[in-house]
């Protein structure tokens, strides 16, 4: 049986998710910040972490964005193969949801022409990743992504001989070089394998996990913990003022790749890990 879903419903859901994601910091980040205050060695760093919690409280209570950079609107949509959309163009309906959410929610519009830098005015077009899955439901995730941490992200094609150690070294060096720029404490998404573009999508998808949620593969879970421990030793600390809390978590996703290649992507996310989802 085919299930009919009106694209107007998609617009309405996307709109609400944009506003929710920007106003309400996810619970797992709040808990992680609380825990970091207890463990952090630097008094200045503890003050910064407290400010981030206070900021999240103000944003939630006053219904204002956590951060002025309300991001480019990244959308992951998993569409059941038994769904039939009615009433218009699905992608246009998503973009309309972005338009309404960013306007009505008093969110900053950050999309611009790459060369002239002219703002598109409504934060569209959204970055839309569609996937077809079994079933008759639609799962939409809105994950607005800020520019500061995105600018520090990288994709590279390593020599397969470097192996897991080479991957870890690339990631830790990137976090070191990024330093204070991506607003630490950060969350690190790593995509290993696939192709050039697939590794980047894996890294971005890894950031949708909740903090503390390890990769189900015990070996990969251990690598995530090892990389986090190495990042902790860098001493960058919150905002780069020095300290032991540089990243809150590391998530690694892995897929097979070409026999000649080892694609690795690192997507750096600031503490404002905005991702909210809904199932229709």
């Amino acid at each position: 049986m085919t299930r009919q879903i009106s694209v107007d419903e998609i617009t309405s859901v996307v709109k609400q998710l944009c506003i929710d994601a920007n106003y309400n910091l996810v619970e797992d980040v709040l808990s992680a910040l609380d825990k970091a205050i207890e463990e952090e060695e630097s008094p200045t760093a503890r003050e910064v972490l407290k400010e981030l919690i206070e900021n999240a409280t103000i944003a939630q209570q006053e219904k204002v964005p956590i951060c002025q950079d309300c991001g480019l609107a990244v959308i992951f949509a998993e569409i059941g193969q038994d769904v039939h959309f009615t009433g218009g163009d699905l992608k246009e309906a998503i973009n309309e949801g972005i338009r309404q959410g960013y306007n009505d929610g008093y969110l900053r519009k950050s999309a611009c022409h790459p060369i002239t830098r002219k703002n598109t005015g409504d934060n569209t077009p959204a970055i839309i990743h569609l996937d077809i899955v079994p079933g008759d439901r639609v799962k939409i995730t809105v994950a607005p992504k800020g520019g500061g941490s995105e600018n520090m992200s990288r994709v590279t094609m390593l020599t397969p001989a470097v192996g897991m150690e080479g991957i870890a070294e690339f990631v830790v060096n990137r976090v070191r070089e990024a330093g204070s720029n991506p607003c630490p404490p950060t969350i690190i998404g790593i995509g290993v394998g696939g192709t050039f573009e697939r590794s980047a999508i894996l890294a971005k998808k890894a950031l949708l996990r909740s903090l503390g949620q390890r990769n189900p593969d015990p070996e990969l879970a251990k690598i995530e913990e090892d990389i986090l421990a190495r990042i902790k030793k860098l001493g960058i600390g919150p905002m780069g003022y020095g300290g032991t809390t540089t990243s809150l978590d590391v998530f690694l996703e892995m897929e097979p790749c070409h026999i000649a290649s080892l694609p690795v992507a690192i997507n750096i996310q600031c503490h404002a890990a905005r991702h909210k989802e809904a199932v229709i």
Binding site: E41, S42, P43, T44, E47, V48, E51, L52, E54, N55, A56, I58, A59, E62, K63, V64, P65, I66, C67, Q68, D69, C70, Y106, L107, R108, K109, S110, R117, N119, G121, G147, G148, N151, G179, S180, N181, C183, K232, K233, L234, G235, I236, G237, M239, G240, Y241, G242, G243, T244, C270, H271, A272
Partner: protein, 185 residues
Amino acid sequence: MSQPIRLITPLADEDVEKLHIGDKVLLSGVLFTGRDAAHKRLSELINEGKELPIDLKGQVIYYVGPTPAKPGKPIGSAGPTTSYRMDPYSPKMIELGLKGMIGKGNRSKEVIDAMKKHKAVYFGATGGAGALLAKSITKADIVAYPDLGPEAIRRLEVEDFPVTVINDTKGNDLYQEGIKTYAKK
């Protein structure tokens, strides 16, 4: 924690010379906002020898593109943006009398050298704390380039706006010192 130092803008050489990296400072008075696009335009005017829409002498520029203000509020969320994108433009502005910059992230050697030579400082504000920082902003007016939207130059009135000294007038760098103190083998 040491007690914060209260300063009122515009700043004089004596105000900035007494600051050291890591100092907590509460700024009151006027700040001007500016990001990449506004800096590019100011820089073009400077190169053409034309008058600027704002007098830079003693002023502090805050690298911020706020969210739209909700009805009844002076401004939306207003935290710092990453500063390195302003590095190509900053030395000339410091030479013209700019005394302070507020942002986040590392500055280039050229900017740090200019701060040392012409007595200016670089402050960090907490990135990602835009809702909290907006509480210290009491008024915001666009004074130049309204077509740039969030990137327009705004004149902000602030009360006890909280910042930390990242680079002082002696060439010190809090980011480097912080790593030296907390990095482990």
